[in-house]
Symmetry: C2
Subunit: 464 residues, 2 copies
């Protein structure tokens, strides 16, 4: 007997097929005519398949009439045209097997609706809900598009290390990784913990960015990207921060800042186009139930070219806007969310790429412009969410890089291999970073970042 997914069985092309469908019961409704409607979902799509199970089934009275939300079943029968609304097909059951029951009063998802906060406590059951199922399908589609986009363009996926002894300057606080006995670590003569006897014979940490290692591979193999977990040990409990998140970071030899902007814009447009094409049912759900602004926001990504302007011009626009901002605008300071929103939402009504930021607010590795005051940094700002991508052309000149490191108090010895990339066959190169979870939030309209990752890691929370 062929096995069909719920998605396949809901398609009109399945009408007439003998098939088996397997999944979990969402609801059961008994008709007076001696049969029941059993809604079955298997995660292949948002909608359920309606199963018609009648009293001709041997286990109708004993089992079918006791089915509750969460029970797992296999149903064999014929796919028929459905008279019901919202569905083209239904499955007339000739046989229904119950694999597992879900005790009604114990099963947490039995009762009607739960808040997203409550569902986080049941992270092992929440993928069985409509919302989390839809989020995970869109998250998967975005992740797949990330790979497709780069692979089709000849990029190599490079697995940069998770455990590192380097500290990508300024990116954030780090988690320590160790196998020393925390109760009683070995100590040196001065009484300090002897990390020479730790697993890696030195202090080691979880990565905050794969960029520096990505540059190693870009300056050897041309076009590369990293896509992996990244960590920040920051004690921030906000709807936009996780201690563990996934980040994609392309890095391209011979690219300058304009190439980098072009790549970022093509990249975002491609992801959004793929989601709109392939996740229509899930996106309609987000638009209706989660965020009525989500579809208009995505359409702004695909609609036209992103606005591009230097940071300095943006500051002038903001100063002349006549708008009352909570935080003052002044050249040399980072823009605040309210400023970014004014630019994308009020002034331009489109995504905006700001570039050439003051060197004082950016890390050491960005290419210094001829003005000596700005660096070739760029931020892509999206209406509704603000910064979604940050990147730069990297400083390829050994002498300028060393001077910037000295300015920021960084030791050349710690970055010997990074400097070697400039010492031997240096090339202009550029790259950027996109946080996957921020992109999923942007795409689905989910307000809290904890609800767009399977198992969120935040201060005080590493369950499951």
């Amino acid at each position: 007997m062929p096995i069909l997914s719920v998605q396949a069985a809901r398609d009109p092309s399945a009408i007439g097929a003998q098939a088996t469908v397997r999944g979990w019961v969402r609801t059961r409704r008994d008709s007076k005519g001696g049969f029941s409607f059993v809604e079955v979902n298997d995660g292949s799509c948002l909608a359920n398949l309606q199963v018609i199970a009648g009293e001709d089934l041997a286990n109708y009275a004993d089992e079918v009439k006791h089915l509750t939300a969460g029970c797992s079943v296999s149903v064999t029968g014929v796919v028929k045209e459905s008279g019901g609304k919202g569905q083209a097909t239904e499955l007339a059951a000739a046989e229904l097997t119950v694999h597992g029951w879900a005790e009604g009063d114990e099963y947490p998802l039995q009762k009607k609706r739960h808040t997203l906060e409550k569902l986080r406590e049941w992270a092992h059951l929440r993928p069985r809900t409509n919302t989390m199922g839809a989020v995970m399908r869109v998250r998967n589609r975005i992740s797949r598009s990330i790979h497709d986009f780069f692979q089709e363009d000849g990029f190599l996926w490079v697995h940069t290390p998770i455990i590192t002894a380097s500290d990508c300057e300024g990116a954030g606080q780090m988690f320590r990784v160790s196998t020393l006995d925390p109760e009683n670590p070995p100590r040196d003569k001065e009484g300090r913990v002897d990390f020479g006897r730790d697993f890696f014979h030195r202090p080691s940490y979880l990565t905050v960015s794969g960029q520096l290692e990505g540059e190693i591979y870009a300056t050897a193999l041309g076009k590369v990207y990293t896509f992996g977990p990244t960590f920040r040990a920051e004690n921030s409990n906000t709807s936009r921060h996780l201690a563990e998140f996934w980040m994609v970071e392309p890095e391209v030899a011979f690219n300058d800042l304009t190439d980098n902007m072009d790549l970022a814009e093509r990249f975002l447009k491609r992801i959004v186009a793929d989601v709109l094409r392939d996740c229509g049912e899930d996106m309609a759900f987000f638009q209706e139930r989660i965020d009525p602004e989500v579809m208009p926001r995505l359409e702004k990504i695909t609609a036209g070219a992103f606005e591009r302007l230097p940071y300095t011009e943006a500051v002038t626009l903001l100063e002349q806007s006549g708008e009352k901002f909570e935080f003052p605008v002044s050249w040399g300071a980072d823009l605040q969310a309210e400023h970014e929103r004014w630019l994308t939402e009020k002034h331009f009504g489109s995504p905006v790429i700001l570039y050439d930021y003051p060197s004082g607010i950016k890390p050491f590795y960005m290419h210094v412009n001829d003005d000596g005051k700005t660096v070739r940094a760029m931020d892509v700002l999206a209406p509704g969410v603000g910064e979604i991508i940050g990147g730069s052309q990297r400083e390829a000149r050994l002498d300028v890089l060393k001077a910037r490191m000295a300015e920021q108090g960084l030791s050349e010895a710690d970055y010997w291999w990074y400097l070697d990339l400039r010492r031997f066959g240096t090339v202009p190169h550029a790259g950027f970073g996109l946080g996957l979870e921020r992109m999923v939030q942007f795409t689905t309209g989910m307000a809290n970042i904890r609800d767009v990752i399977p198992f969120p890691r935040t201060p005080g929370s590493a369950e499951f």
Copy 2:
């Protein structure tokens, strides 16, 4: 001016094109006729592009004639048919720009050949070598095939957590993750380190497997896979072990052990077929320079069906083989490498899937067979390397699972959410794990696992 990769410029279809090619010099050879042959590589393929640079270039005497290995250049000119052997095309330079020099006596890759051991010390430069470039292109192709295979079949990529408070029993020693001050951690009244004040308010670790969390998603959304970094804090310095490696773990609701074997076999055949189709030049290099057995070994994967037999029958075959093994064979003990090799290489001459292993040598979560002595485990053994995939049908019955946990001294409280999956709508399900680096070793013939990952993490080594 259009930009061509070296790969594109080497293709006969490029003949006649005006183009720019950018990359790194591999060698320079001067002709007496007033011109030089400059071999340029950009990572897009193993082979170099031959550039003909003549004294008509303004910088011929001052720059071109000083080019050495490692210098970065852009060359603009016309692609012409080449009379040289091993190449269809060459680039006649009209302009050659040097971006970065590589001081001959300082550049480590200047001198002729280095051992793979030596190259590990220069992990920031070794992707510029032929061998590492080829490894990374094949590694990328395998990684891409892993995603393609599952995505085309409707699987969802699920990002299971890297930091975890759970311990996937028996999988191996774990790294601790912490933000406590190691010199002077907070202590409780009994004087023990107070992990309640650590970042996650409890002891936390790096994951050794995403399987248990993968089961959460499979029993909600049907077909899922994880693909991410995995960690073992084992002090083993072998050519087959890393402290940090990438693992792919599919998990499928309603699959039994036979389905699981079918999936694993299709999966391996697909990866190998993709590599053979797309990486011909790199594979010829591995066959010629690294391992003359690599191609015959891969052809055994694609050639026919894998042999499948129960562990018990394999033990009987080994006992009756008349072979003198170093380690004795006896029912109930794990097979040793020599036994696996005899089965795959001598007896069957093909990949072998062994299944139904003694329960005593397998973890608690595997489905117990009706004989009460074996579990639905499977190992895929490949000629030349031994076990490459391990998996099982999972125990879906709550009572049997609890009994197995009790046997192995595991606490139900620690696994409350894993037990809930059996309490609420349990289904048969199965999955397996494949280590990416083992697969890259198998595919390329590289002897040491440190040479198939960009930045190997091993005891005492976390540089870069």
